[in-house]
């Protein structure tokens, strides 16, 4: 994947749940995330941030609206094309760091590389070790993920999201479980990647310092984006920390 990849969406609508529990989780969301920029989404719990990220990450289908990745409308592509883009283009960090329990940290990070199939076993191992080293887990490569602390698991999940060197990174509270030092470090890692390697990043955060460090902050409420602020013009944002 050379060249810049940007991510956009237009007028996304999403309803969740059935019958009486039906929730209008996204009410016409449009965003443009160009390569080389850091975007944050902030908003109260339940406003639809994760729902938006799942749709942008091609994990969920919107009820209306379109998703454009690298100038291509991917909304109506078949499942296997979505799978391929998830594997090659998108790195997803979940709010609840989902790791495969019976596998070691290293094996978890190698999992997306196995699907891609571009590297040999030893190259995959080396790359996984380097990525885990970057999140300060160089000494816990062979530990089963169930025996890692919450914060360590979250860092493994960050390393895993970067495994195939994706152009788009979607992160749902990637630093939620981390202490100040580690969350700064993790954010710095992502920010460097985005700036130097011209990737596109959208992250959900409740951390005002992280939000402040992003190029754009999008404020969400009740399934809508009620304001998008570039850096330096956002005195009035209420982030719940």
């Amino acid at each position: 994947m050379n060249g810049e990849v940007s991510l956009s969406c237009r007028d996304l609508e999403r309803y969740l749940g059935k019958e009486e529990e039906r929730v209008h989780a996204l009410r016409g969301v449009s965003l443009d995330i160009e390569a080389g920029s850091l975007h944050a989404v902030v908003g109260p719990s339940g406003c639809g941030k994760s729902t938006l990220l799942y749709i942008l990450g091609l994990l969920d289908q919107p009820d209306a609206g379109s998703i454009i990745i690298a100038s291509e409308n991917v909304s109506d592509l078949p499942d296997q094309e979505w799978s391929r883009r998830r594997n090659e283009l998108i790195g997803f960090i979940f709010q609840f760091h989902f790791l495969m329990e019976d596998f070691t940290a290293e094996e978890n990070v190698m999992m997306p590389m196995r699907r891609l199939g571009h590297l040999s076993e030893s190259e995959m191992r080396d790359r996984a070790a380097a990525l885990l080293h970057d999140v300060d887990l160089g000494d816990k490569l062979r530990r089963e993920s169930r025996h890692l602390s919450g914060g360590e698991q979250q860092r493994v999940a960050i390393a895993r999201a970067l495994a195939n060197d994706p152009q788009v990174i979607l992160a749902d509270e990637p630093t939620g479980n981390l202490d100040t030092r580690n969350s700064e470090r993790a954010f710095a890692l992502l920010a460097d990647l985005v700036r130097q390697r011209r990737k596109a990043l959208l992250l959900v955060t409740h951390n005002r310092f992280i939000a402040d460090a992003c190029d754009w902050v999008h404020e969400m409420q009740d399934g809508r984006i009620i304001g998008s602020h570039p850096r330096g013009q956002r005195g009035s944002i209420t982030t719940n920390v």
């Binding site: 969740l16 994760s50 729902t51 799942y54 990450g57 994990l59 969920d60 499942d79 296997q80 799978s83 391929r84 883009r85 998830r86 594997n87 090659e88 998108i90 997803f92 979940f94 709010q95 609840f96 989902f98 790791l99 495969m100 329990e101 019976d102 596998f103 999992m111 997306p112 196995r114 699907r115 891609l116 199939g117 895993r160 195939n164």
Partner: protein
């Protein structure tokens, strides 16, 4: 190694006990299939070999001529009496028929036999017997008579025209051994005296109880028959093609010709029924094993819902996910049928050593088995198909799980 296979192997090691259990099902299904087939076919094959060995793969007897009725009648009623035949006792042109027969590639050897029913006597015992007037040299080529001798010598029979060979059950009944004398009552009412040169055991109950082999010339005089042979028995290279050849010979020589399949139809049906009933039992075992695998894999899918969602989110396609579970099935099928074949062979060997005492339809002192690679092939194929069907449904279920349902579910 592909990613799905790698993950399948890893998942398999996490659920060792459940997989081991379903493996045991496949191993036993395959093993029992193999050894039941080996047994049922073992008895059938032994019977077939014995009957062909003692009475030939094909028998030509009784000359016939088509009976021509009035042409006008035949034309009006074509379905009715067209196949009527007039039969004449005995075989005519024996040497000519044998000469032509030998030119058929399937014919290994043939031998003329003069057959008749008489009664035999030794001491106070009387038995009605079937006398086979044979030419010793041709009979040896066309049947297994030489190997069937269990007492006395075949040569003592060949060299002595007043000698006979009798079935071992008949010998028991008349209470005679090799070297003893028996008397045979001719149709003319006089007793002829013979020496029992040898005792034969064919393995076929009726043959061993009824048959007396004598020299053809002697038999012809004893029975007062105008013809040299009442039948010709054939040894065939490929006995399974006997029915076709019998039909052909019947046309060619205008003599009634019967294959061993036709002769033993009743007995063959018994063996066939046994084989089918064994196959049904085994199918049930394999069905149960398949059901077990279905359960194990369904449970495995349920316990890996989270992992499946993670894999899907990383870009694993539906086909990758279903492959993971199909691979697990394939591993069970592969390892299971391999071990099953080994166990099947061991069981078959063990069963062939089990002593049993059968003296009725056939003669044996232990279980009879056949070793046939096709049993192993079919057992493996059956297991593979059953396991594939059993793993297909769970694998599709896994492939169609929506990852987002799981990922979102945990956030509630």
């Amino acid at each position: 190694m592909t990613a799905p296979l790698y993950i399948a192997l890893r998942f398999a090691t996490h659920r060792k006990r459940a997989l081991l259990l379903s493996l045991v099902g496949v191993v036993f299904g395959v093993a029992i299939f193999i050894c039941t087939q080996a047994q049922t076919q073992g008895f059938a094959q032994y019977f077939i070999n014995s009957t062909i060995g003692s009475s030939g793969a094909m028998v030509l007897r009784t000359k016939f001529q088509p009976r021509y009725e009035g042409l006008a009648v035949a034309a009006k009623n074509t379905t009715g009496a067209t196949n009527r035949r007039n039969y004449f006792e005995g075989v005519s042109n024996v040497s000519e028929i044998m000469r032509v027969s030998r030119q058929f590639s399937n014919v290994v050897a043939c031998a003329p036999v003069l057959r008749g029913n008489v009664s035999a006597r030794a001491g106070f015992e009387n038995a009605s017997v079937e006398i086979y007037g044979i030419d010793p040299a041709s009979q040896l080529k066309a049947t297994d008579l030489a190997t069937q001798i269990i007492a006395g010598k075949f040569d003592d029979f060949s060299n002595n025209t007043s000698a006979v060979i009798i079935g071992y059950k008949l010998a028991d009944f008349l209470n005679v051994g090799a070297g003893d004398a028996i008397q045979i009552l001719s149709p003319g009412g006089e007793y002829w005296r013979f020496t029992v040169a040898a005792i034969a055991r064919s393995g076929v109950g009726t043959v061993d109880l009824n048959r007396v082999y004598a020299h053809a010339r002697v038999a012809q005089r004893l029975l007062k028959k105008p013809y040299q042979a009442s039948m010709i028995i054939y040894k065939l290279r490929n006995p399974s093609r006997a029915p076709e050849l019998a039909n052909h010979f019947e046309e060619l020589f205008q003599h009634r010709t019967e294959s061993w399949q036709e002769r033993e139809e009743g007995n063959l049906q018994i063996f066939f029924t046994l084989q089918v009933s064994a196959a049904i039992t085994v199918s049930l075992i394999i069905l149960l094993a398949g059901f077990g695998i279905f359960n194990v894999l369904t449970m495995s899918v349920l316990s890996k819902v989270r992992e499946i969602a993670i894999l899907r989110s990383m870009g694993y396609r539906r086909i990758d996910i279903s492959s993971i579970f199909l691979w697990q099935g394939a591993l069970i099928a592969g390892v299971g049928s391999l071990l099953g074949c080994v166990l099947g062979a061991v069981l078959t060997w063990g069963i062939s050593k089990v002593p049993i005492h059968i003296r009725g339809l056939l003669y044996t002192n232990h279980f009879l088995v056949v070793w046939d690679w096709r049993h192993y092939f079919w057992a493996t194929l059956l297991a593979v198909v059953a396991v594939f069907i059993a793993s297909y449904v769970p694998s599709q279920r896994a492939a169609h799980l929506q990852p987002v349902d799981t990922l979102r579910g945990s956030s509630l």
